[in-house]
Symmetry: C2
Subunit: 450 residues, 2 copies
């Protein structure tokens, strides 16, 4: 029989075990951070009923959706009635609307699952990737102080992820919209185009963006375009930025509301214990137009600006208007871990770390296998992750295996050691060896493996 | 605009947060057990290339496969080129064959992901469900002592899962096959049918099974049918069972090999520290026919035999013959957690436990919100999972929320307490209240939340 070439589907990330351990550690850190802040776990099915998932006339999104159907349905020529989720926001909306009566509001949930998009396959673009989301959903209303909690979560998690210095950028879209009102830019489509061009301020020069604002579909005069950037291009400490905004002389209700919200977030951030070294108000960020209505967030790794934002989100008016009449405002953030992990690998920040396996009990003498099994059982009972070398092999090969696998300690016991009631423990990192009383082995290792 | 009814796809398990926490705790316990025994994590994409997944002419399996295709592919009338995995074994075979040169053998992996089958929707039957698998894969050979490690893993995990008494049953299929040889039952199809009927010994009486063995498609004479059950129907302690097998006078090579393997597993189990109260040799279990070739396992909850086996597996000759010429024997087990969780819920064993949120900082006086934020930040920095009541509400409502949500401790601070440098902590389980110095709060709570 001819062999079938084993191959991973294109556009997916599949890792060797030691790399998977590094990925899993990041997932665990994120989850621990989310739980630290009192978010509750939710998991939803990988697929949704197609007409529920695609109720919003999607355009670009719908083109990327993967449909699912069973063999029987294909044969009968049915249209697929299931589709893979393309984000965690639509499933959250469906979940909250479906279980509304059983949930307590404000509802704080985290969800860390894979999502699916039929992207064109290319490096760093994934068709299957993890999103790690939190959202707080209010019923009818949700105080602005919740917006200040999000940077506190980001700060905690990115500090623990150990990915180097980072900074959270945030803004309030009402400020941008208020500025538009003050400048007489009233067409929703024009505003959308202006915001899209303003988003390019981190990539293009001021003059280039002024040019774009005068160009096709927008057509601001040069003075107005310049004024837009005077207002938005300001950079400085939060107190100065708030003063700058106060000094603009803009007085529309939207602008005043936005400025009040932004000031409240800035004040609360201090009480949440987030140092200003790790955040700034960035008046130029806007995120997409349709969804976010107040505070918006982006997060950048200082040493790797090219990665773009590694954690983004914002405040929205109503989560689930397609599914329920209840008004459900919310605020949330998302970490796209697969893409981040790929970028960190490319940048050499993620490498193979220590294994989850902490100890290898080597097989020095096959006649002593029952002793090795007993030692392994003792260590496992003490909570130490232990592999027992069950297959005879040369000692050199066993050490080489422990070394390559990232296992920290190797336990060796021959007949002489057994007679003395001792074992030898080799630290594979330092190369040091120690004679340890057999009876105290689990304690000895436990203090060294945490 | 008319609303769309939000609904979970049929045949999927979606849980409310407190139930999800209980599910997550079981997943964590299983993962911790697998890591304790030195298994390494692997995750594979939810879909596989269709011709890789379905290379084995599947019959029943293929009818249940979900195919995946993007919008574009449907419009162009293409056949789907992706399909959702229906178990974790085929992806493991593909993974090991694809990454063979990068893996160390024996390769010990765990994988805990969802799989998909287009089952007819009915209670307790799932189209999407978790499998939690471990396997050890050898290159060319794999010593039998690995077969004794599996019950040690099952024992550790099911003890920690807290699902009541359980017992691991195991057998060796070579013994069954050797008995067939000795009885002159040589047709593979007849053997398969005999094994299938023997599997019914736990549901039917001996006479009924004797009848089935004489019936259509098998046609044993009454004496041979009786001898089959004399051999296999024996029940007793392991030492007696081994003596019973020795005393049968059967001497075919297959039988002798099977008996030697079974004896070795029984002997090693003691060294692995698995008490005989929690396992037995059960000569009547056989599992499916095609795949397993040596040791086979089933696990039963003593108080809930109706659930059937909650953890099964066995030894196989060659994992990935479809994808590689290397001979890769292995042994593994699987826990179907979604189905188990459903059954445990039905039996009332799984209920809502304590929340992952350990402390609620209540909002007694909105003027003190900055203090509440600071207290929350302190507790979180001390590793305590803390929710801060950010929305003003009556104290009674806040306590009711903590109680319903399963949050153990509520922290209360009014102006008087603040002036004294104290807070009040209410234990929501015992109802007791304690005055605690603000400066010592994190330590006080940490010793009580573990």
């Amino acid at each position: 029989m001819s062999l079938i070439t084993p191959r991973t589907p294109p556009g997916t990330m599949e890792l060797l075990p030691r790399r998977q351990i590094a990925f899993q550690r990041m997932l665990d850190t994120i989850r621990r951070g989310y739980e630290r802040f009192g978010f509750l776990p939710v998991e939803t099915p990988v697929f949704e009923v197609a007409d529920v998932l695609l109720s919003k006339s999607g355009g670009e999104t719908e083109k990327q959706v993967y449909f699912v159907q069973s063999t029987g349905a294909i044969e009968q020529g049915h249209r697929p009635d299931l589709a893979l989720r393309f984000d965690l926001t639509v499933p959250l909306a469906r979940y909250v609307a479906e279980h509304e009566r059983d949930l307590a509001f404000p509802f704080r949930r985290y969800q860390m699952q894979r999502v699916y998009r039929g992207e064109r396959a290319q490096k760093g673009r994934y068709r299957e990737f993890y999103q790690c989301d939190i959202d707080v959903i209010g019923k009818d209303s949700l105080p602005v102080v919740f917006d200040a909690e999000m940077p506190a979560v980001i700060y905690t998690i990115f500090s623990e992820l150990d990915v180097g210095p980072f900074r959270i950028n945030f803004n309030n879209r009402k400020i941008l919209l208020g500025l538009f009102e003050s400048l007489g830019i009233n067409e929703p489509e024009t505003r959308a185009l202006v915001l899209r061009q303003v988003d390019k301020l981190d990539k293009l020069s001021r003059d280039e963006v002024v040019g774009l604002l005068q160009g096709d579909g927008i057509g601001l005069d040069a003075a107005t375009a310049g004024r837009v950037l005077d207002m938005i291009g300001f950079a400085g400490p939060a107190a100065d930025t708030l003063a700058h905004l106060e000094g603009l002389g803009v007085d529309t209700p939207t602008f005043r509301t936005g400025l009040a919200e932004l000031s409240e977030v800035v004040a609360a951030l201090k009480a949440f214990g987030v140092p200003e070294t790790h955040w700034r108000v960035n008046l130029a960020i806007a995120r997409g137009l349709d969804y976010y209505t107040g505070t918006v967030y982006e997060t950048f790794l200082t040493d790797h600006p090219g990665l773009g934002s590694v954690c983004s989100g914002g405040r929205y008016e109503n989560l689930a208007g397609l599914y329920t009449k209840s008004k459900l405002p919310g605020v949330g953030i998302s970490i796209g871990l697969t893409r981040l992990f790929y970028a960190l690998e490319q940048a050499g920040i993620v490498t193979d770390g220590p294994s989850t396996v902490q100890v290898l009990v080597t097989q020095f003498d096959s006649a002593l296998l029952p002793d090795y099994l007993a030692i392994g059982a003792e260590l496992r009972a003490a909570g130490i992750n232990t592999e027992i070398q069950l297959e005879p092999a040369k000692p050199k090969k066993q050490f080489a295996y422990a070394d390559k696998a990232g296992i920290r300690f190797a336990v060796i016991m021959g007949p002489d050691e057994k007679a003395r009631g001792e074992v030898t423990v080799k630290d594979m990192v330092s190369g040091e060896q120690a004679a340890v009383a057999r009876a105290g082995l689990a304690d000895w290792l436990r203090t060294r493996t945490g």
